[in-house]
């Protein structure tokens, strides 16, 4: 199954989802698709007008461009997702730094999809890490 991870660039979540035999939907794979295109529309990152329009599907024109830009990449993945794992209470430097509004918007879009979602806490010590891993294994093992 396709599992959306939040933060979408997390190594820990990507690895744990992949270990369970599911396909993690990450921002790295989405960006790779963009930069691997043989036709370079807008170097260096290939961000085109089409991406701007994609972002507008998820957030209005009055919303800051950073949020729309992120949602242009993450929004299609959220639509594609069949399940999601969300990590909460992360430190400031964890995940997509500096845009909490995007994170809130991503959570709202995920909850609106009514797919199975697992909320886990950021592990501050070994015991919390154990809880995170066990909970993720149970959740991902139950997905069919």
């Amino acid at each position: 199954m396709k599992v959306f991870i939040d933060p979408p660039n997390s190594l820990i979540l990507f690895d744990l989802v992949e270990r369970s035999g599911h396909e993690p939907l990450s921002s790295m794979a989405a960006i790779q698709e963009k930069i691997d295109k043989t036709e370079i529309d807008m170097p260096p990152m290939n961000v085109t007008l089409e991406d701007v329009m994609k972002g507008l599907k998820y957030a209005g024109i009055e919303v800051p461009s950073g949020i729309r830009g992120r949602l242009a990449v993450w929004g299609p993945m959220i639509e594609e997702a069949e399940a999601a794992v969300i990590m909460e209470d992360c430190p400031y430097s964890f995940g997509c730094v500096g845009c909490h509004r995007t994170n809130l918007m991503v959570r709202y879009l995920l909850k609106r999809r009514k797919i199975p979602i697992l909320d886990v806490n950021y592990p501050n010590d070994e015991e919390e890490a154990k809880d995170l891993v066990v909970r993720m294994r149970e959740f991902l093992g139950g997905l069919k």
């Binding site: 690895d15 430097s93 886990v120």
Partner: protein, 139 residues
């Protein structure tokens, strides 16, 4: 995801006995058509998707709970990201943060393999209004 090329970051947990050099040499001895670059956190692996996935599954056998991987969007040595070409490294802060936490995840994986159960999840409660007022009030 592109089926042509796959670039992977292989990150070794700080609690693991495996070294980046060991990972790189083991991949070299496999004799597969992949490019591997040793890094401070582990290695960068690049090649055709199927081969890379096979190499990752083999390299995990060195330390199943101590080796972690994730996809990297940019190719190894991409001038937009490679430090040798003065590229920016916006993902490095995240990688460093997660590398610091990998020993905890390794411990969690070991516990999960033993069959340990999770304890009840702590959910952060909302701040009561009277405490919030005390914080706001200037004495």
């Amino acid at each position: 995801m592109s089926s042509e090329r796959e670039t992977r970051l292989i990150v070794i947990s700080p609690a693991s006995d495996i070294t980046p050099d060991q990972v790189t040499r083991t991949i070299h001895t496999m004799g597969k058509s992949v490019t591997v670059k040793e890094a401070c956190y582990g290695a960068v692996l690049e090649g055709p998707r199927d081969t890379v996935l096979w190499v990752v599954s083999e390299i995990r056998k060195l330390d199943p709970n101590g080796i972690f991987t994730k996809v990297r969007a940019y190719q190894a040595g991409d001038p937009r990201r490679c430090r040798a070409h003065h590229g920016t490294r916006p993902g490095f802060a995240q990688l460093e943060q997660e590398w610091n936490d990998l020993w905890k995840i390794q411990y969690g994986l070991n516990c999960a393999d033993r069959g340990d159960k999770a304890s009840e999840r702590k959910v952060r409660e909302k701040l009561p209004v009277d405490i919030f007022k005390k914080i706001c009030e200037v004495k």
